[in-house]
């Protein structure tokens, strides 16, 4: 298929590896492997991170955050606040009320939602939220919830398009996602540049799958392991994880993936259950926690950057956690069995709600309520660390360790459970993202064993780099790569949202007229 981009991409990777190997030789004497990897990684990705998070001139507000929020707000208004009006119908679809059991056997709405959720619920909800509240204060939670609610409209738009423009091959397999709806949708509407934009998305999706979908996961899994079993070099965790991922995605040992995918939902339920217990035990502090969240949202309560600082952190973490507007969910949802693309849009809008509004908020509340963030009792302002970049925490921890400490203050055994949950979440997210990245890779370079093996090997190499590097550079690159996907995706959504509107109007009309009814009503009507 597209041979030239393949060679260009491979040349870029080779150049990067050459730079890495020469730097390794130069720096081997100055420190361990982890230090070398960290140094090189920071240098290699710094320009990309700076570009994506460049602030508006004269402000500290990154343009990319506004880009996502503007997109979500426009979709919310364009579809008339559908995320609030359509939740009941979404739940009915997930329950299977509109599905004919005689046609069962393919991917149900529930399965598509559960698969997409297993790719998003994970470290973003545990470590990401901890980062957001430690930098942006409790107020970040308010902006995170708001971004989650708005993001439901973005998810609705992209997942409807994902199903509408998916590729269904003769052998019965399905491929979908932004690269397909951008190229096919633009062509259908006579808009130029579709192939270029789709290609750009695919490149960013590959970077996103290597960053947020891979390195961030490996990095935080290692951080959690060191909390439980003591300090040891990150590359060891990296090699073990890379080997496990390799045997699943290259070796085709599906049983490991199946076991993980069956345990992960229960881990999620256990995590939320533990958070609920902590909240019930501290029920008297919930009112205070919400007052901190509201006050912090509009004043900052002393955090770096004040209200804007809280807002940026909240929006950033919500987007990173639920991926609304990023386009990854459209790849996961596109395999569903339906003749009405808009039904999957309805189902997908539940995803940011479960992920951000429920799970992320619970993590934030537990951190706030258990008193992990140090506050000046006289002024009520939060105390910043020496560098003035984040709030001082009770035991000086950050990221996943902060969440672990918050839960451990109520249940001493929780760090062990969290370590297992983090490892499983990380592993299942990696498997999901290896698939998203692979779809983008095969879109660019064509289907084929060689192209697939190249990507899968590259994916495993990045697992090791992610586990060995420090949290700072990895989090920056992961955020940048994920947000870069949203650049191409949201441009595509703006041009294609009239298509979604047409689908929605037609669907709602038929729903109202009784042409589309629940299965049990259809059965009753048939009998009568």
């Amino acid at each position: 298929m597209l041979k030239r981009p393949y060679f260009l991409f491979m040349s870029l990777i080779s150049l990067l590896l050459l730079t890495v190997s020469s730097s390794v030789q130069a720096e081997e004497s100055s420190g361990g492997i982890d230090a070398v990897v960290n140094e090189i990684f920071g240098h290699a990705t710094g320009w990309f991170v700076s570009l994506i998070f460049a602030p508006f001139p004269g402000t500290s507000f990154p343009w990319i955050v506004l880009w996502l929020v503007t997109g979500a707000s426009i979709f919310t208004l364009y579809f008339g606040f559908l995320q609030f009006r359509g939740v009941g119908h979404s739940i009915a679809l997930v329950k299977g009320d509109y599905s004919d059991p005689n046609d069962a056997g393919e991917v149900s709405h529930f399965q598509a939602l559960a698969t997409a959720l297993s790719g998003t619920v994970g470290l973003g909800n545990i470590a990401g939220v901890a980062v957001a509240v430690s930098i942006g204060g409790p107020g970040a939670t308010f902006w995170m919830i708001l971004a989650g609610l708005m993001g439901m409209a973005s998810k609705f738009t992209e997942c409807t398009l994902g199903v509408k423009y998916r590729n269904e091959y003769k052998d019965g397999s399905v491929s979908g996602g932004p690269m397909y709806y951008i190229s096919k949708g633009f062509k259908e509407r006579g808009i130029p540049g579709g192939r270029f934009l789709a290609g750009l998305f695919a490149v960013f999706c590959i970077l996103g799958s290597l960053g947020g979908g891979n390195m961030f996961q490996a990095n935080q899994a290692h951080a959690q392991l060191t909390q439980v079993i003591g300090n040891y070099p990150g590359w060891i965790t990296g090699v073990i994880f890379a080997a496990l991922v390799f045997i699943v995605i290259v070796g085709g040992i599906k049983s490991i993936a199946r076991v993980t995918d069956k345990i992960v939902p229960f881990m999620g339920i256990l995590y939320v259950g533990s958070a609920i217990v902590i909240l019930i035990v501290n029920a008297d502090k919930i009112g205070w926690a919400f007052s901190q969240i509201f006050a912090g949202a509009f004043t900052g309560l002393g955090v770096a950057g004040g209200m804007v600082g809280a807002l940026i952190q909240g929006f950033k973490r919500a987007a990173f956690s639920n991926e609304a507007g990023v386009g990854s969910a459209a790849i996961a949802h596109s395999a569903v069995q339906t003749n009405e693309p808009v039904t999957e849009g309805f189902v997908s809008l539940l995803e940011p709600f479960i992920d951000t509004v429920v799970i992320c908020t619970m993590t934030a509340l537990v951190i706030i309520i258990t008193g992990q963030l140090l506050q000046n009792p006289e002024t009520g302002m939060y105390i910043l660390n020496e560098a003035g970049t984040a709030i001082k925490t009770a035991d000086g921890s950050s990221g996943v360790a902060l969440t672990s400490a918050a839960f451990a203050s109520a249940f001493s055994w929780f760090p062990i459970l969290l370590a297992v949950a983090v490892i499983l979440f990380a592993f299942s997210t990696m498997l999901s993202w290896s698939y998203y990245g692979l779809k983008a890779w095969t879109y660019l370079f064509g289907e084929g064993k060689r192209a697939e093996l190249t990507f899968k090997t590259l994916f495993c190499v990045f697992v090791i780099i992610g586990a060995a590097a420090n949290l700072g550079p990895v989090i920056d690159f992961s955020d940048a790569a994920i947000f870069a996907m949203a650049v191409a995706n949201i441009i595509g959504l703006y041009f294609l949202m009239p298509v979604v509107k047409k689908e929605l109007t037609s669907y709602q009309k038929r729903l109202k007229s009784g042409e589309i009814v629940k299965y049990k009503d259809r059965k009753k009507a048939k009998k009568a």
């Binding site: 069962a104 991917v107 019965g172 397999s173 995918d261 069956k262 395999a335 698939y435």
Partner: protein
């Protein structure tokens, strides 16, 4: 007036016993009787799958349908045709007990013939076996062949 008997088949020895019994019933009733063979592939819309499994699910369903058709339904239909018994067959996905009952209601069937299920273990104890569920929820008479 014709009589339709629904037969649950799965290619196992127990399924074959159910089929043999239904065949005997059809012979006794005569040419008015038609057998409807149903092979149910157990499937739940509420399981958790990987994105890769989802993307190949349609293909997988086609393979499973073809396998059931070729290995279970077609040989049984050929044997029934040879014996001069009118029959047709279908492969369905879902919960066996409710699918067998739905098809029976749809065809206005006289009865459902199934073999005693051999399910054991925790899930059968908690949720009940296919046979037990069918006997409890069916809208038509059920014959369980031991």
């Amino acid at each position: 007036m014709s009589a339709t008997i629904i037969v649950g088949v799965d290619g196992s020895e127990a399924g074959n016993r159910a089929l043999a019994y239904a065949k005997r019933l059809a012979t006794l009733i005569g040419s008015e009787c038609k057998l409807e063979l149903v092979c149910v592939v157990e499937w739940s819309p509420y399981t958790f799958q990987t994105p890769e499994e989802n993307s190949h699910r349609k293909k997988q369903k086609q393979i499973e349908t073809q396998n059931a058709q070729e290995r279970v339904i077609d040989p049984a239909l050929a044997a029934l045709k040879e014996a001069g018994i009118a029959a047709s067959g279908v492969v369905k996905f879902g919960k066996a007990s409710s699918i067998l009952n739905n098809i029976a209601v749809e065809h206005n069937a006289e009865q459902i013939v199934v073999a005693r299920s051999t399910e054991q273990g925790l899930s059968a104890r908690v949720f009940g076996s296919v046979t037990a569920n069918l006997v409890m929820s069916a809208n038509v008479p059920v014959t369980v062949v031991s």
